[in-house]
Symmetry: C2
Subunit: 104 residues, 2 copies
C-alpha cells in the first residue's frame, strides 16, 4: 500500500542522511518501515529523475565492481524542498486525522 505523493518526501529524507543510490534507497525505506512502504523500481527511478529535473538532487557516478552506480545527493533547493514536504505531510496527516475525529 503506497499512498501516492509521499515518495518524494521519503527519498529526500533518505538523502538528507548522505548521498545514496536508487537500489539502496528503496531497500532502506522498505526495511525501516518493516515492509509496509514498498516502492517498485518502475516507481522509484522515474521519481528520482523527477527530483533531478526539479533540481532537488544532483547525481554523480561511481564505478563499483566494474559498473556505474548512480549516486544522488541533495542540493540546497532539495534541502528546502524536504522541509516543505515535511510540513505538507504533517499538515495533511493532521487534517485527515482531525476530520476523522474521535472514533477508532
Amino acid at each position: 500500500m503506497n499512498v501516492k505523493g509521499s515518495l518524494p518526501l521519503l527519498i529526500l529524507d533518505a538523502l538528507s542522511k548522505g548521498a545514496s543510490y536508487g537500489y539502496l534507497i528503496a531497500r532502506e525505506i522498505k526495511m525501516r518501515s518493516a515492509g509496509v512502504l514498498d516502492f517498485q523500481e518502475g516507481t522509484l527511478y522515474p521519481a528520482l529523475h523527477r527530483l533531478e529535473k526539479e533540481g532537488w538532487v544532483e547525481t554523480y557516478n561511481v564505478k563499483v565492481d566494474g559498473r556505474d552506480r548512480r549516486y544522488y545527493r541533495l542540493t540546497e533547493a532539495g534541502v528546502r524542498a524536504l522541509s516543505d514536504e515535511r510540513r505538507s505531510w504533517r499538515a495533511y496527516v493532521n487534517a485527515v486525522d482531525g476530520v476523522l475525529g474521535d472514533a477508532g
Copy 2:
C-alpha cells in the same frame, strides 16, 4: 494538497455519521479540515460512484426544491471497509513517520 488514496476513507467516515450527499460531504470535509482537504467535484462524484460499485454505499433520491438530491448511505460492507481503511491509513502514517524518524 490531496494525497491520492485517502478520499474513500474520508467519504466513508463522513457517511458513518449518517446519510449525506455529494455536495455536502465535500463541503464538510473542507470545512472540518480548515480548507486543507479540498476535493473538487470532478474528483468526488467518480469516487462516490466507485464506492457504490464496490457495494460500500447505497443511494436513494430525495426531491428537494423541485430537484433530486442523491443521498448516500453506508452498507454493512461499507462499515467493514471503513474499518479497514482506517487501519490502512494508520499503518501508512505510522510507517512514514517511522522512516522519517526524529528530525523535524
